[in-house]
Structure formats: structure tokens, C-alpha cells
Symmetry: D2
Subunit: 435 residues, 4 copies
């Protein structure tokens, strides 16, 4: 992924340096489990471990040019470092296949990536909880189809974001658990040399689950699951970003993204403040969801594995982690500095001349004894008339003989009060998990 | 979905009849909860319910032509049926929005669909468990990159399918639980008329979870999650189907799909038996995974909802359920009648002239004191030579001074035994969950 | 595809009846070419053709149940009809493989589908051209990032839709030409029995191109290309639909979809007019673009063909044709009845208090001799100040010493004229191809 | 894209350095067209151009940190360089918006990228033409469904790849032409300041087409079209790679990828030669096709543009170019060094004991006077019997009374000759475009 959309913390998880370091950690965990069984002294093993840690990525790259096989290059480099501990060296990678190290290391990387992503979601959730509480009583128009529907509060809207975010955090935790697996079962997964007990001991030491029936690799449904969850996280972010873009529209003007001092909005039009962060987040969500599509194609490998999935993961899996990590922090920063304009929300809420209360009128008419079909006809008639004449719905209804008769002045007035639309907001915030 | 890829049980879940029946169930659940609160006698409510059940899909369709709104047509039809119970009728759909009924009904449909899909997976798992046990000791070549790697047994291979299937069954159960949600919270989700308690009572009666912070609809991440899980199920099926296609190849000939009496394989070539079921399953998996992509796009709706997701769900969500249901039963039938050719497996295993044991030789040389790099060079040299001369690897090694010296005749022979490759198969089957 | 999103004309192209009719057309074209070479009298051939035309889909389906092979069932049914013309019958399907008929018939179907789609685009283009001309002078705000940018006219906006539509019509014509190919080259494409000359004669008679190097099938890149083009058509439709949704927003109110008499917008809120057609079109575009993804997966078949593509095409290819055909006519109908509100457009254009002219002011300052950076700073400063004080930009500039000095009252006023923004609209319409 | 899958030539096209260089080229083209109209001396313009070329990416990056707007940073940097030519400087970016420069520069980048991709395809086509000619007479089994069908030659197979490659080269040329467009039409595309004639002159100088109806940007269907074409190129590459993987299988052994001296195939199994290049190509094709999916989502922008497409293009568009460029050269190298094993092909062709000739027998029986259904039954019966008894089909037929009677010994023998399967290969190569 390009630097522009990366945070260094997540990049580090997927760096070559870290990857080789984790290969070594896996190899050493297996080596220790084997050494104990084969009577190689612990002291020599640890001397070997210390020497091995002096491997150099540059030298690995140089060897790889000859061998055309990165893992063999890594092994030769480590063995060169640890040549003074021959008994330990002999057990290094012994009975293992490349992907015993690689896939198990990837399990560790996914675990680390998930921890960063969880932290990102928590930052977002904290920002959303604060917004929801601060604006639990800030009135605005609820909209469906882009058309004003009924009054809501901004805090209520944010509670919806929060609840979806919390679901995504839970999904991420689950998928991370399901992806934090390793395998040290040999070239086709049947432990032709090593024992399941060695695998168990090594993976326990590494903090990973044991793949029950691996092939040469961990089955790729685990990775697809993880990326699919990232795609849902990305879409949850997109949902918020899309809302900000809508509410920052010139005609709406209810929100705006933070705008830095000295920042320029447009090279041609100096008056503009554009929701560029949100637009960016919407674009990035597209990338992540299509990476999930590629990950689904990686599941059905040939026989005991083919390596077609590898290039996809080098790009789509890693980039999805990097992107969602970046997106979460961009979103969090945006929400932390979000500018909210309650007066404008109020003003917009009045745009329909009371149309947003039409549902209440409908129900009041029914409660007053009209049947549903007649009631609906009355309200729709008055609503369209009011819109045409540019007068408030309440007046149009007051002028309508049927409506007036059914509701009376007081009954009619009661339909146009905001309070009922906010009654349950505190309960909804609680249900969403906001304390 | 076309009939060719549908089973009637799953079609029934998504039929118009069932959908309206479930709308009615939801409406009545809400009506009962309201009636109790507003003192409408239970007897009248149940009379209304009985009358309402006489709704006709044909009449709904006729009304819809005028109203251009299916839910209003449904409501008018039900009210026409229940007009003799005016107090109950007045509470019908009272304070509700279309999607209170529709999305809650969809929660019920997803629950029913998931039950069918679970049964499908269980049939597949039963067939796989039987195969795995029957062939736990049936030797064959393990392959990576399409190239023979080390010996395995066919039962071991199937255990991998089983474990992935079991994961998918678990995923399905989880996603079904997360999708079996309802909402009766009004036009924008803020309970402008009804109480959360009414929603809670109705959803409890329907056996659904309560969406904590709905808008006009249930948030679409729940549905995307469900389809993503179906895409993973489809890919797990594809993995098995792809393997059958590979192993049925003329040159491999280790498996074949059941082939009906009187069936024709090819209109031009009467000798052929083609793995058409498996090929079909691979194609269908493509459809499902791309439906998941569309579902991800449905998450970010505008404001308190837009209806762009609806057409996608009418096709992609329903079809994904129908397809995976169909695929599971096609796969199960295929596995139940699968023809396995152990002699051919054995014969193929010998194709490399013992090359499949080269890993063992490598390790034996290391154990005999050679360093890893030298050992690798010896085995690769002998393996390539043997292949060129068309002689068994064991002979090439026996003729190699270094190898012979390091291993001795007995040591060399021990490298070419099958038993070690099958030692842990029973344990792996157990780990995979096969009893 | 479900009926709701289908037009009968396009359904007919893909019906079983039509498919078998086209199979027969292809078979007869090949038969005629062979008969001439082998001396079978033309009269018998035509008698056979007449008899064959009496095939019944029901009888084919009955036979298929036994043979598990639709094409064989078709052949047996035709031969049963034509049994009185044995010499012609003997040449029926002679030397051909199923897909000689099937893929060639699909070439004819794609050609027919493309003709319908072209007609759909032409209806859309006609509606757009009319709108563009009618509103070439209807002022409104041009927006970027959802923020008012500079004045445009509605006709100018529509010209952009038109130009993209015209590109899609051209794409469709090209892709249709590239997809209208056939092959009659036998089981693996090498003319093991028939001559290339027979293929050439038959395909010429059918009006199809000759696939230069077929396998058992026409290579699937042709079909992928066709669906990719449909995905772009769908996205072009989505672009227009998305715009209508934006401009129908309550706060914008510049357009609205046609709204039928008696139609209900919302079951809960009688005042609403929702852009449901446009929302629907946006959803359907998602389906089509993901079908294109599945089509790309169909290209890499095994060896001289595997049949995994077939199920994908039965759904994704056919549905994409049906959907885009439906979408084009839904869009056309929507545009033909589109309600345009020029006063509201004008009112919205004034919302920024002249901010939409800020670009002009910037350039005027530069022309007056200021450097770009200083000029930008002046305009941004005045624009933000004006917004804060709620005063017109022109006043803020008039009150700014630097600006006033640079431009003078007349110069300043000239910056706030609409005419320059419309000068080139007629030329743009012409460039877009609108006459 | 990671270095591993990049060639430096294509990277250079998309480098920051090149991008700013092209921005400058576009700005200068516009400046020259304006300068001529406004009487700024050519000499000053060219002095400015020379000074401007001394811009530094590092300084742009530094300014960008403050302005949070890359294009403004670029403009300020260029103006700083060219401050000694004030009359020219005043016309720099005059009346333009950022994307007048950016999108037009991208048109130039796409043109340059397409030229590299064309060269890649030409290298692949040359390798394929050579293979096809060399092996026009190399017999092998043609396969459908993975099952032997009828004899073909390897050169015939390659001709199919060639024809698809040639189609992709043509597609690329067309899409490149359709993407090599620019626009210099201002902030919303209506030439509020500049004249269409300035745009025309500048674009002509740059060698780009004129977008007839732009908004702030070039419409994104052009870019989607380009990526869709890349996805088809990637799939065409995948088709070849998939074939190599199949034919390199241990049981097939008809091809192998080039294998470097000193290369290691597997860290655990020294005997292996894995088709890793082909597997890699199959994985990369997945990435590209899903990028096309993201590009389709970029088409429907808001109003006169939103910037959500930008992040997608920075990744998906650029990476698709880099990946396909890399893939073409990897494929070409692989084909140039491909190892072909004609003896193995011949041996495999005999695996079905003559079953591959069953189609000929079927037709011979029909020609001998049997009806199609009876003839099919005879051949299928003998074929399945022969397979069961492990005897050649020819013998089984000779032993079948009906078959023997119909064909006679000579007639039967004639069915089992290879020559007819190769007769038309030279013609097919010619049709495919191979000279």
C-alpha cells in the first residue's frame, strides 16, 4: 500500500524484518520442542537462538537471488549465523516445510494486526459515544430516501453508527481468534516427520491455535473470513463518511469536517470547504471490499495446496489490514474534530413546513376513528396541497374540514410536537452500548 | 434463481406467499402487544387474525398496480379481510412503517433459510465423515503445486474437507443468529409512536433478537455478514469439487463422480465420463462470492435509509441462499456416490519412482550428521538424475557414494516406507471432529 | 431474473423455446452446408427442416430426465421428428459437438440481446437530448464534493450524461460485434470431421463471425467483454440515477421523479415523494457490476474447455442482459417524466451569497496584477468572513481594501455575472453529439 | 504495488516525479495557448517553462504539509521558480482547476502505460507464435472436462492462446485510445474562464483527445473501461498459466516451466519442480479482476464530481497497470523457456486405449447407415467395456458383432488414425494470425 494510506504501526507488522523475525520465532519454538525430545541441551539451543537473531535481511535477499526461494535463503542465513551450535542447527527447520514457518508466522501477524485494528475501532467508538451523548438532544430531520421523514436527534443517528461499530469490533475479535492459528505438520500436513505433540507445544508457546486438519498450509477460509470482516469494517466506516458528505452538502450544511488553518479547499474556488476526508474513506472502502472478493477465490486450492493464494495475500490481505487501520484513525480524527451546526439542523427540520409530522397526524386520525385508508388520503391530500401553496401542513389540515372535525385544534396541535420523537433516545443509546 | 439450481424447500422460504404470511405474523405480533396495552379484547384480536389469514396474494398484486406500493396493498387487503373487527383493525400496522414488517419478516426468513442450510451442511459432513473413515488407510500421493509431494491417505484428505465444512457450519450458525433480528421502531427507528416495550414483546414472540439502534431498517451489515458466510460455504464446496475434478482427470483417474445409467457424457465422444457436477459447483461458487461483493455495497445507506439495497437483496441475498442450499445437496449426493479407485491411487503414488520419499532422505542425511545444505544438494542431485534416467530414487541414492556412506543400505531402505506417513491420521481425524 | 426486473422482449431472447429454436437454426445451417457437399437433395433437407421445427420443449425435457444431457435429448427429439428423411437425418449434428450448436446459438442470442439494448440506449439518449436542449439555459449550481462550485445549466449537466450514454452505446455495438461469433469446429476445435469451409458457410448464413481458434467452445473473453460493457452501461445509468436522488433531496428539491396518481410514497408518512426508481437503478447497477466479476473468472478454462462457466452464464450473463434492458427503459421512462424546478435551482444557486463566483474574483485579482498566492488569500479570507457574517461575498469584497483597490466597483460587479458560465453550453451540447 | 510484482519501466510512469513533470507539461501547454491569445511574448513563456522545470518534489511535499492540497503546493512551487517571468506566471494555471492538470496528465500516463503494455503483449505473442509453429505437429490429447477427448497438436493449443492474446492487444489499443483524453474546461467543465479553443490547442499539442462533456473531471467510464480491459488481459494470461500448471502435473508431465540452475523447488522435498511462475500469475489475475470491480464503482460520482474515485485510482488503476505489465513479461519469459515433452504427450495420448477416437467411430457407424442413437449406444458400450477390461477400444469394437458388421476391419482401422485431427492445424494457425 502507498504511504499516503498507511500508518507506520501497521506497516511494521507486515515488514520483511518483522516477518523474518517471526519466522525465526516459529522455527525456534519448534526447535525447542524437538530439542527437549532429542536431548539437545537447552543451553546450546539458546546460544543458537541468540546467534540466529543476528540474521540479516540484506544477506537473505542476496542468497534468494541465487536460490529463487526465499525460505531456503532464510534457512541458509540462519544456519550460517548459528553454525557454532551444530546440534541445535541440525534440528533447525528439521522435518518442517516452508509454510510451517510462514503460515504460523502469518498467524502471529494477523494477531498483531487485529490488535491494532481493535485499538482503532476503540478510538472510533469513543469518539462516537462522545458525539452521541453530547447531541442526544440536538434535533434534526430524520430522512429516508433522502427525503425528510420524521424528527430525530443527531445523538440518535450517531448511536446507530456506534452499534454497527461495536458489532464490527466484536466481528474483528472473533475473526482474529479464528485466524490466529498455526500449523507445524510438514509438507502435506500429515506429520510425516514431526509429532503432533511438537506442533502443540510450539504453538502453545507462540499463543496460537492448532489447525486441526492442515495441508501444506492453513486452509484459506480463515484468511478469507478475516478479510471479509475487514470489508464490513470498511463499509461501516463508509456509512459514517457517506453521512458526513451528505450533511456537509451546501444545501444541508449540518456538519463539516475539521478544516485545518491554512488549508486550501480548491485551487480554483477559494470559498470551498470540501469533505475530502469522508470522500477518501468512501473510496478506500471500495478497495477493501474487492480485496475480500479476491480472498474468496483463494479458498479452493489444488490438492494439498497450490501457491496461487500467496501473491493475492501479499497484496490484498496486507493492504486490507493497512487500509482499514488507516481508515479507522482517519475516521476517528474526523469525528473528534467534527463541526456540528445545531441551528442549521433546526432550520432544515422546518423545511417541510411540518410535513415531518404527517405520520403523527395519520395515526391521530385513525385513533380518532377514521379508517386507515381514509386517514391516509386526508393527510396526503393536505400535505401535497400545503407543499404546492407553500404553507405549513398544520394550516392546511386546519383548513381541511374532515381533519379539523376529527382532531380538533388541540388534537391537531399535539401532532406537531417534537418531544415524542426524542422520548426513547436515552434508552436507544443504552441499548447501543453507550454509557 | 432458475429452477435448475433451486430446491423447492428453499424456494418456499422466499416465496411471495411465505413472505406475506410472515408480514402478517409480524403485524399480528405487534398488534397483540399493542392491543393488550390499549384494552382491545383478545378475542377480537384473534378473530381479526383469523380473518386476516384469508388474504390473497392475487388481490394484493391487483391493488399494488394502482398504489405502486406493495406494503400499502398488503395492508389494504388485510384490512378488507378484517373489517368486521374494527378495534383490532385500527391497531393494525398502527405506528409502524413498512419495514417494521418487512425487515422483521426477513429476519424470520433468514432464520428459516439458515435451518435448511445447516441441514445441508450436516448431510455433507456425514458423507465426508463416512469417506474419511472408510479411506483412512487408502494410500495416495499428497500433492503440492500439482506435483507429488509425500504420501497421504485419502481419508486424511477428506478430513481437511470435513474440518473446513465444520467451520462453515459454525459460521453459518453464528451468522444466522446475528441475522435473526427484527425491528419495530417506526419510520426512522426512534419509536416516535410505539414503545420499545411493544417491539420487545413482539420480537420475543417471534423468536428474534432486537436491533439495538435501527433506522427505518435493520442495518445491512447483518445481511452482508450472512452472504459473506454463504460465499465461504460456497468456496468450501468449490474446494471439494475442484479436488474431484483434478482426481477424475484421465491421467489421474483416482476418483469419479457417480454416473447414472443411460447417462451420456458427450454428444460427440461416447467414451467420456465428465465431472460435470463438480464443474457446476465450481461455477456456482463464483456467483455466490460475487453476490457477497454486492452485499458489501449495501451497507452504507443514506441517512436513516435509502432503498437501493432492496433490489440487490431480492436477487443476491435470496439467490445466494438458494444456490448454497442447492450446492450442498448436490455435493452431498456426489460424495455419497463417489467412486474411489484405490489401486489407481497406489499406482500413481509410485509414479515418481520414490521421489515422494525424498524429504525423508533429506532428514535422514541430516540426522546422519550432514549439514542441511549439503544434504539438500545430494538429494536434489539424485532426484533429478533418477528422473532423467527413469530409475527409482532409491537406486540413484544407493549409487551415490556420499548418500550410501551416510545412510547405509538399511538406513536408506527405511526412508522409503509408507507407514510413517499414516501414523497420525487417526489423530487428525479426531482433531477434525470425525468420530 | 425475477419478473419484477424483466421485460418480456428480453426474456424471450433467453427463453428455452428460443434457445432450442436457435440450436435448430445452427444445426440446419451446418446440415445444409454438409448436404450440398455430400449430395443429399435440397428438397429432402428442407422437408427435414420443416419436420424438425415441430420439436417440443416438453418432450426434450422428458428425454433429458433419462439422458441427463440436454443436447442429446434435443438431438433425439429432432431426429424423431425428422425420421422420414433419413439421408438428411444422418447428417444432422454429424461431426458436431454440443457446443457447436450451443455456443453458436448463444452468439445469435447475444446479437439479439444487443439489438434490444441498443434500442434501450437510444430511447434514453433521446430523452436526454430533449432535456439537454430544453434546459440548456436553466441555471443551477454546479457542485463538486457536494459543495457549490460554479454556476452551470441543467442542460449542460445532462449533456454529460448524454455523452457517456453515447459512449456506452458505441461500446455496446462494438462488444456485440465481438460477441456475435460462432464455431462449428468439433469436440476440441480442430475440425476432426467437418471442414472449416462448412463452418464458414454455416456461420455466414447465420450472420455470425468465425472464431479463428476455438476449443470445444468460443473463448470466454468474448462473453466477459460483453458483460463488462453491460456493467459500464449499468454504471452510466447509476450516475444519472444518483444525480436524481441527490437533486430530489428535501433540501435541494430541484428535480423529482414522475409520481403516479394514487401512488403512495410511504406507508407511515403520507407527505413523502421518494426517488424510488432511481434508488432501484442504483441497486441494480451493483448486481450487474458483480456479474462482470464472475464473468472474468470464466475466462481461464481447463485445456480445451471445462464447463464451469456454463452455470455462471445461465445466471450472470442472461441476468445482466435482462437487468440492463430493464434499467434502460426504467431510466428512459423516468427521464421522460422528470419534473424540473428551475425556480428552486435558481434559489439554491444563491445559497452561497455569491460564493459560486469566487473563482472569477480570484482570476480578476490576478489579472489586475496580484500574484496568485495573495489573490487566493484575499478571496478565501473574504469568503470565509462573508459566510460567518451571513453576508454576500460581493459585499465582503467591497469592504476589503485590497480587493476594492484591485478591482474597483465595476470590476467587482463583473465577477458576479452569470452569462460567462453559459457561453459555451451550446458548443458543449454539440460536442456531446446533441443536435 | 510491492516491488516484487513491478517492473521499473511501469513504475516510472506512475512515479511522483513523472506525475509532476506531466502536470507541468499540461500547464505549459495551456499557458502557451493562452499566452498567444493575450500577447505574452513567446520568449518569456519559454523562459518561464525552463525555470519551472526546476521544480522539486521535495519542496512540493514540504508545502503540501501546510496547505493540505498537493496541487496548490505544486503551483506555488512552480510560481516560485518562475517568479522572474511575471507575465507568463500570471497565466500559469489561469482559469484552470486542479483536475484540468491532473486528469489531463493521467491521460498522458495512461497512454504511456498502454505503450508498455502493448510491448508486453507483443513479446508474449512472439513467444506464442514461435511455440505454435514449432509444435504444429506435436501430438497430444485434447481434453474437455479434464478428460481426454480427441487428439490435437500442441501448436493448435497455443494458437488458441495466441488468438486470445491478439484480441487483448486490440482491446488494449482501443481502450488506450479511449483513455488518452484530456480536459481543460475549468472547475465544473463549462469553460467559465477559458475557451474551448484553448483546450483544443493544448490537448492537440499533448496528443490527447478532447473530452466532449467533462465535469470537473474526465468521466470515469473511460478509466473503468481501461481497467476492465486489463482484467481481460490478466485472465488471458491466467488461461495460459492454468494450462501450464495442469500440463506440469506429475501425472501429466507434458510441460514444465523453466527451472534455473541452483534453484530450489521445495524446502522439504528436494525432488520437486513446481510451476510457481504460473501459480503466481493465476493469483495476480485475481487481484486485477477485482480492481476492475472497484473501478466500476468509481463511475457514478456526485454532481459535477466527488473525489471518492481518487484513492481507488491511486491504488487500483496504477496497480493494475503495474501488475499486468509484470505478468506479461513473466509469462513471456516463461513461454520463451518452456520445456515441452513430446514423448510424454504421445504416451498420454494413448492412455485411453484409443478412446480418443470414439467420436470418429460414432460417425463412421452413422455413415455406414446406423441411426445416431444406436450408433452412440454401440460406441459407449464398447468404450466402457474396454475401459473395464483394460483393452484397447479398437479391439472391443472388433469383438462387437454389430460394430464389426457395420464397419469392417478396414473401416474400423481408419477410425484410429491421427492424421485427420491435424489436417486443418496450419489453416487454424493462419486464421489465428500466426505467420
Amino acid at each position: 500500500m502507498i504511504d499516503r494510506y498507511s500508518r507506520s504501526e501497521m506497516r511494521a507488522v507486515w515488514s520483511d524484518e518483522n516477518r523474518f523475525t517471526l519466522y525465526l520465532a516459529v522455527e525456534l519454538a519448534a526447535l525447542r520442542a524437538q530439542a527437549r525430545r532429542r536431548g539437545v541441551p537447552k543451553a546450546e539451543v539458546e546460544r543458537f537462538a541468540k546467534a540466529a537473531a543476528r540474521f540479516s535481511v540484506a544477506r537473505i535477499r542476496a542468497r534468494e537471488k541465487v536460490l529463487a526461494h526465499e525460505m531456503e535463503a532464510f534457512i541458509e542465513e540462519v544456519l550460517a549465523q548459528g553454525r557454532r551450535c551444530p546440534r541445535a542447527a541440525r534440528l533447525f527447520h528439521f522435518g518442517m516445510t516452508s509454510f510451517d514457518a510462514q503460515d504460523t508466522a502469518m498467524g502471529l501477524q494477523l494477531k498483531a494486526a487485529a490488535a491494532l485494528l481493535e485499538a482503532g475501532w476503540q478510538r472510533v467508538l469513543a469518539a462516537e459515544a462522545a458525539l452521541a451523548k453530547r447531541h442526544a438532544g440536538t434535533w434534526m430531520a430524520g430522512r429516508s430516501h433522502g427525503i425528510h421523514a420524521e424528527p430525530i436527534t443527531f445523538g440518535f443517528k450517531v448511536a446507530g453508527w456506534y452499534a454497527e461499530g461495536a458489532r464490527n469490533l466484536a466481528r474483528l475479535r472473533r475473526a482474529a481468534k479464528d485466524a490466529a492459528y498455526g500449523k507445524i505438520s510438514g509438507a502435506v500436513g500429515n506429520f510425516s516427520t514431526l509429532e503432533p505433540a511438537v506442533e502443540a507445544e510450539a504453538l502453545r508457546a507462540l499463543g496460537l491455535g492448532i489447525e486441526p486438519a492442515s495441508t501444506q498450509v492453513i486452509p484459506r477460509d480463515r484468511h478469507a473470513d478475516f478479510i471479509a470482516v475487514l470489508a464490513m469494517s470498511a463499509a461501516a466506516i463508509e456509512r459514517v463518511a457517506l453521512e458526513v458528505r451528505h450533511l456537509q452538502r451546501t444545501e444541508v450544511g449540518e456538519l463539516s469536517e475539521p478544516f485545518g488553518r491554512g488549508q486550501k479547499g480548491s485551487s480554483a474556488m477559494p470559498h470551498k470547504k470540501n469533505p475530502v476526508l469522508s470522500e477518501n474513506l468512501c473510496g478506500l472502502a471500495r478497495l477493501v471490499r474487492h480485496h475480500a472478493g479476491a480472498a474468496f477465490e483463494n479458498i479452493a486450492l489444488w490438492n494439498e495446496r497450490d501457491i496461487s493464494h500467496s501473491s493475492v495475500e501479499r497484496v490484498a490481505l496486507i493492504d486490507s489490514c493497512i487500509l482499514v487501520d488507516f481508515m479507522l484513525h482517519r475516521l476517528a480524527g474526523m469525528l473528534e474534530g467534527l463541526q456540528v451546526y445545531p441551528e442549521r439542523m433546526q432550520r432544515n427540520l422546518e423545511l417541510t413546513g411540518g410535513g415531518v409530522f404527517s405520520g403523527k397526524v395519520l395515526l391521530a386520525l385513525i385513533e380518532a376513528g377514521l379508517d386507515r385508508v381514509s386517514a391516509y388520503a386526508i393527510v396526503q391530500r393536505c400535505a401535497f396541497a400545503a407543499r404546492e401553496r407553500g404553507e405549513p401542513l398544520q394550516e392546511a389540515l386546519a383548513a381541511d374540514a374532515e381533519a379539523r372535525k376529527a382532531l380538533g385544534a388541540r388534537g391537531l396541535k399535539a401532532c406537531f410536537e417534537l418531544a415524542p420523537y426524542g422520548r426513547h433516545v436515552p434508552a436507544i443509546l443504552r441499548r447501543a452500548g453507550i454509557r
